[in-house]
Amino acid sequence: MSKLYIIIQTELSCSLIIKMLYLKYWTSLIGSVRKMTTAIDKSSLSKLRKKTGFSFINCKNALLQFENDLVKAEGWLKEQAQKEGWAKATKLQSRPMSQGLVGLRTNPDNTSATLIEVNCETDFVARNQKFVDLVTTLTTVCNNHFTSFNNKKISLEKEDVNLIVSSDGRTIGDLVAYEVGNIGENMALRRAVHMMTSSNTTISTYVHVSGDEINVSENCQLGKYGTIVEFERLENEDKTLYLVADPFHVKQQICQHIVGLNPKTVGSEDDEPVSNKDEETMLIYQEFLTDPTILVKDVLKENCLIVKDFIRFECGERLPGEDL
C-alpha cells in the first residue's frame, strides 16, 4: 500500500516538476520577447533608415535581429536587398514600361562607343538620381564588357544583356533588381549596342535630353535619344584632304539630324528618293536639319564625308517584333 502511495507521489511530483519547468521556459521566452521590443532604439532606427534608405519595416526587422547593432543590421539589410529586389522584380515584371533613359559612353580615345537603353514605368523615376546612377553604372559595365571583345559591332537584346557580369561579380540583372527593390517600379535594361572604328573611320555621338539637364558624371551621357555615327573621310579631288581640318562641327550636326529626323538607313546613290520629302527614311536624301534647302548628301559631299553606319536609340520607342 505504502509503495503505491510513494509511486503515485513521485509521479505527481514528476508531472509537477515538468509543469514547473515548462512554465519557467515560457516566462523566460516572454520576458526575452518583451526585452526585444523595448530594445528597438528609435534613434537607431531613424539613423539606419537615413543611412541606407531601406524601408522602415526592413530596418526595424534588422535591428530586432541584431539587437541594435547598426553595423550588422546594415550588412544584413544589404544582403536582403538583393533577394528582395529579385522578388519585387519578378512581381512587377509584367507592368508596361514606357519611360526611361538612354546611356552613352565613349572610350577616351574615341575609337568605340556603347549605347544602352534602360526602361522604367514613370518619368518621375527616370529623373531620379538613383535611376540616373544605375544607368551610368550599367553603361560603364556594358562598355567595359564589350570593349574586351574587340568586335566591330555588337548588339544585344534583353536576355543576353542581363547576363553580363560587372566588376564586383554581380550580373546586370542583379544590379537592376537591386534598384527595383529600392525604387519600387518595374525596370529593365532593354538593349545595348557597341560600335568600334576601323582604321580609316571615326565615330561621333550625340545624346538629346528632353526637359531638364541630367547630372552627367565621368564621360557618360544620359538622355532620351542617343546616336552613334561612323564616318569615313573621302579623299577630295585635289588630294588636299590632309590640309582640311576635321569637320567636327558638321559631324555633330549630322548626329543631331539623325536624332531629329529619324532615318532608318543610310541609303546609297543607287536608291531612289521618296517623292514626299517628309516621309524620306534614307539619310542621304533627307533635307538637312539646319538647312532644309539642301540634302544630307550634299552636306556630306561638301565636307568629304561618308556615313558608313549609324545607330539611333529613342527611349521607349516601339521596336519591330515587340508587343506593346
Binding site: K42, D123, F124, F131, I183, G184, H208, G211, E213, L289
Partner: protein, 476 residues
Amino acid sequence: MAASMPHSMFVRGLVCVISRTADVLPRLNFSNKIILSRHSLGLFSSSVVKEEIDKKPHCNVGTIGHVDHGKTTLTAAITKVLSEKGLTNFVNYDQIDKAPEEKRRGITINAAHVQYESRLRHYAHTDCPGHIDFVKNMITGTSQMDGAILVVAATDGCMPQTREHLLLARQIGIKRVVVFVNKADIVDDELVELVELEVRDLLTEYGFDGNETPIISGSALEALNGSHDKYGSKSIMKLIETIDDYIPTPTRDITAPFLMPIEGSVNITGRGSVCIGTLLQGTINKGQEAMIMGFGTEIKTVVSDMQIFKKSVPQCFAGDHLGALCRGIKSDFIERGMFLCQTESFKQWDTFEAHIYVLTKAEGGRIKPLLHKYIQQMFNKTWNISCCVLLPEDKPMIMPGDTATVTILLRKPMILVEGQRFTVRENDITALTGVITKTLPSLDLKLKGFNMEIQKTYRIESNARLVLNKRARNKK
C-alpha cells in the same frame, strides 16, 4: 474639362467671360467659364451677382506620389466619403485608374479628372501618371493647380522618387502641399511618426514649409471599403477639412491697377471710341485717366463713360465685361490686342520667358525638331503677332514631345500677363503651346526679316521740268 470650370453661366442671355489667364485659340470664344470666388462676388455692380452668391468657391488640387502608395485609392475614397454626405458622386477605383488619354486642344494628356464638393468648396481633382502629363496640364489648362496632396505609404516611407514629386509641385507653381500617410492601419504609431518626420524634412528641403504642412494619416483602402473608424472615413474627412483650411482659394484682385484687354472697338463720331473687353484686374471709375497700350505704342486718354449690358455705370470691377468710351481716340487706332490700363502702372515688353510644350506629329504638330531662332506667329486669346523662339544655350534643338523653358522675342512690345497661355502656329499646324512665366529686359537682338528695320532713304525731287514731264505722261 473638370480642371477648368464645370458650370456654364448663362445670365440674361449673355455669357460672362472671366479669365484670370488668357485662353489660347482665338476661334474659341466664351468658352472660359470660371466660378467666381466669394470675395469678388459681393462687389459686382450687375445683378448677375446675387444669383451666384450661393455658389461655393472653386479650387484645383491634384495627387502626387508613388504608383503603389495608393493615390488612386485615396481619390476614390474621397469621392466615396463625400458621396455619403450627399455632395458628390462616387467615382470608383477602376474609372480613375484608367487615366484616359484626353485631347485638349489636340494635345494628348493622360489624366484622371474627378470632381467633389466639401462643405466649403468645390474641387476639381487631377491625377496624372507622369511628370510630363502634369506639365502639359499646366501649360494647356485654363488655371493653375492651387494645391497638391502628397500620398506616402507608411509601410515604405518616402521613396527616392518622392523628391521628384516635390520638384514637380515646385515647377508647376504649387505653394502648398497636404500630406496623407496611407496604410497607417497596418503599421504601429511610432513608425507613422517617423515617416512624418521624414516627410517634413523632405518638404523643407524642397522649399515647402515642413513645419506647418499638415500631415494626416489613415487608410484609403479602409475608407473605400466602408469602414468608419479612425483609419477609415474619419481620416478622409479630416483630410478634406485640412484641404479646405490649408489650401487657399485664388481670389480676383480688385486693388491692382486696372487692366483690360481690348477685344474690339466702335467709333462714336465727336466723342471718341468705345473699347470692349473684360476687366482682368482692378477697378475703373468714370472720368479716370487711362492708357491704351500695345504693339509698342501708347496713348493717353480719359474714360468718360462705361456701359455694362447697355447700361451706364459709374464703376467697374474685375470680371466685368464692359464697353469703355475713350475720349478723343479714333477707332482706327485701336487694334485687337491692345490693352486699356491704368496710367503709369504697366510697361510693354518684347522679351519673355516661357514654359513650352512642342506638339508631336500625332497631336497635329511638327515632324521636325525646333531649332534656334524659330520665327512664326504667336497666338493669344486677344492678340497675335510674329515671334522668335530662342532656345537655351545648352539645347541645340527641341524634339516634338519635349517641354522646355525658352526665351521668346516679339516683333513689337506688348503688355504681357504672367500665366498667360499661348500657341505658336505655323501655317495650319500648331507647333507649340506655352505659358508665359516672366518678362525679361529687352535683348536688343535684331533679326533680318523679323524686327530689323532697314533705313530707307527717299529722294524727293521736284522742279518745273519734272512736273511738266509727269503731266505729259499722264495725258498720254
